[in-house]
Amino acid sequence: MKSYWSRRVLGAAAVLLLVIAANFFLFRIMPGDVVSTIIDPRFSPEAKERMREVFGLDLPMGRQFVIYVRRMLTFDFGISFLSQRPVWDELKSRVPNTVALLGSALILSSALGTWLGVKAARKRGGFTEKVVLLSGSISFSFPSFFVQLVLLLLFAYTFPVFPLRGSVSIPLPETGLARTLDYLWHLLLPAGSLVLLGFGSWAIYVRNLMVKTLGEDFILMARAKGLPESRILWNHAFRSALPPVLTLFLLALPGIVSGAVLTETVFSLHGVGKYLLDSILGHDYPAAGAAFYILGLLTIVSNLAADAAYALADPRIRVGRRVSS
């Protein structure tokens, strides 16, 4: 148990350090003055001097990196070139939106995918299996943003039931409940489209796992004992297929984060991915670096969460035996 966790946390820390290092060096290998990627030439001389001090730009590279790591860990990202405000102030309000989009998409698509996958495995050749196979192959080759554009065209233009853009209505509704509903109304199409694109590959994977598991001897044993079918399906077969399903969670995560960036752009959501794009297009380097870092951090944290779930689901880890991963 201990070795599992120390390895996982150490791995996450290494990836985090790598993301920070990539950030640090990427924005310093640019042609031209290094300082110009951290300090806007339009800042006043006093502000420039202050930023130089804060980032220790006159110090050697090694010292600079240490300072940089500390600033990243305390969410002190410097000042945005575009808005001339601290980057974290801008990002703070966006993180919950991205988390809401990512979280709802991940949970809903995995739940739907798992359910359909199990159903498809139970009745081979049935209608569910056909749906699963079709949606899986669609999600593999259709660009997410194209499907979303079509959905937007259908449900925001032809049949205007959903908003065309934004995370909330302007002006904001008055009461708390109306605000929540408004937020969900704006979230439904983006998150729904991610679910639509995501559940197919889940379902196929779960189906293949379940088909294999259902052919095993202990299932035959459970049937022989006369257990109810649903109990065999969920408590016996699915339970033993759960750890590899959680592995898929880990594998799918980076793709879903990438998809969220595109989704936020398509639906003009007030999120971190859209901020990253706007910052890159506006050559706002501190903001772009910070947004990239936050996306990396979100991925790493969800990775750890999935690891924790894996540890709970796999008894070999719970009792502390070493698992070759």
């Binding site: 290494a14 990836v15 790598l18 993301v19 990539a22 990427l26 924005f27 290998i29 640019m30 299996e129 196979l133 192959s137 593999f140 080759s141 259709f142 660009p143 997410s144 943003f145 194209f146 499907v147 554009l149 079509v150 937007l152 065209l153 925001a156 233009y157 032809t158 065309l164 293949n208 088909v211 880990l250 594998l251 995560l253 980076p254 793709g255 984060v257 990438s258 960036v261 595109l262 752009t265 398509v266 991915g273 990253l276 794009l277 890159i280 297009l281 050559h283 772009a288 670096g289 947004a291 990239f292 996306l295 990396g296 991925t299 990775n303």
Partner: protein, 397 residues
């Protein structure tokens, strides 16, 4: 056994043919304005006026236009006429109501060059209308027969072309700048193919060499390389690509290199596991025992063994690269001068295709991307089956 070539190979050849010969088969500059912005396709445009063009030449001195719609966006008249005699000529426009305007006149000479655009201020001043009024609506006050005629001596050669942009256009309509979507679509296939194939070639080369080295060397090098692969596979690639493109620039070749640098991991893994098993095989052991060098074994024996796997990975990797290119272009992180399917979707999204309801700007490039991805996926599977016939007719893949 039946020996029917897979549909994807035929489709691939077809796409290749379009990419190579398309622009020649559909002449005309894709950057040219052909109709009004967001003109729907001709077959779905309904009551909108079709585009019109007609010549004034020695054989036809008059153009009669039967106009049944609202005034067109614009009117252009371009070309040159040659005359034998030195006498004044003029171009007269007669509207359905019977009013007539002199569009242009010529005092006489041998060669008359005409270049009229109804939006031109000088032209409007000549007609005697305010510079900010719409000249085309002056010339088309109502519905009926409008006549453009050449008055004066008959020209001996040359011709003038009268063009009225329509409210609907071609097979796929026009975009926000009035460009023909069909020719943009056909030009766009080139970028997808070029970027997709060359980025994947680069990635496969990288993956092949990294995988062979990792699998054959083993030990610390192997575990280090595989750790790096794990890390690269666990962080979202699109944000990295965005940052790279933002820093290095949006050129086509930069894009190819960046995509190649970040998509070799899958191939490396597959090749590594192959090399790992081959390394322990008897024939490699025999080779080593008769004194073959590592380099020789890698180059002459492992590389050919890995080739089918790499070919399949190449074909299966192209969709990823195409989707990544399309995604970056859609985000606006591509060279604005290069027309690609992703760029078309970007412009559709950014320049109001939604408020115009212009589905013809969104559906063709999106379906194009999907289709080309499906073709490469199927080709990859076919190559995999050739390399490993056990896969054929397996479970529900």
């Amino acid at each position: 056994m039946k020996k029917i070539p897979r549909w994807s190979f035929i489709a691939f050849l077809f796409i290749l043919a379009i990419a190579v010969a398309g622009p020649a088969a559909f002449p005309g500059d894709p950057g040219q304005t052909v109709a009004k912005p967001f003109a729907p396709p001709a077959w779905s445009g309904g009551d909108a006026p079709p585009p019109f063009s007609g010549p004034i030449s020695p054989s036809s001195r008059e153009i009669t236009i039967e106009w049944k719609w609202d005034a067109p966006e614009n009117l252009t008249l371009k070309g040159q006429l040659t005359f034998d005699e030195d006498a004044p000529v003029k171009l007269v426009w007669t509207t359905a109501e019977g009013d007539s305007f002199t569009l242009a006149s010529f005092r006489g000479g041998r060669l008359w060059k005409v270049d009229i655009d109804a939006r031109d201020m000088a032209f409007k001043t000549n007609l005697g209308i305010p510079p900010f009024a719409n000249a085309a609506s002056m010339l088309f006050p109502g519905r009926g027969l409008h006549i453009l005629s050449l008055e004066g001596p008959t020209p001996s050669g040359g011709s003038l072309d009268l063009t009225l942009p329509g409210g609907k256009w071609g097979l796929l309509g026009t975009d926000q700048r009035g460009r023909d979507v069909l020719s943009l679509f056909i030009v766009g296939v080139r970028v997808s193919l070029l970027v997709g194939i060359s980025a994947t070639l680069l990635a496969s080369l990288l993956g092949l060499s990294v995988g062979l080295a990792s699998g054959y060397l083993g030990g610390t090098a192997d575990s280090l390389i595989m750790r790096a692969v794990d890390v690269l596979l666990s962080i979202p690639i699109l944000p990295i690509l965005m940052v790279f493109v933002g820093i290095w620039g949006k050129g086509l070749w930069q894009l190819v290199v960046i995509l190649g640098l970040f998509s070799w991991m899958g191939t490396a893994r597959t090749v590594r596991s192959l090399a790992l098993s081959l390394r322990e095989s008897c024939y490699v052991e025999n080779l080593r025992s008769i004194g073959a060098r590592s380099w020789y074994i890698l180059y002459r024996h492992l590389l050919p063994e890995a080739m089918p796997v790499v070919l399949a990975a190449l074909s299966l990797g192209v969709p990823g690269a195409i989707l990544a290119e399309a995604g970056l272009s859609f985000l606006g992180l591509s060279d604005p001068r290069v027309i690609s399917w992703g760029r078309m979707l970007h412009e559709a999204h950014g320049f109001g295709a939604f408020t115009a309801g212009a589905w013809w700007l969104i559906v063709p490039p999106g379906l194009g991307i999907s289709l080309i991805c499906l073709v490469f996926l199927d080709m990859g599977r076919a190559i995999e089956e050739m390399a490993d016939p056990r896969l054929k007719g397996g479970d529900g893949r």
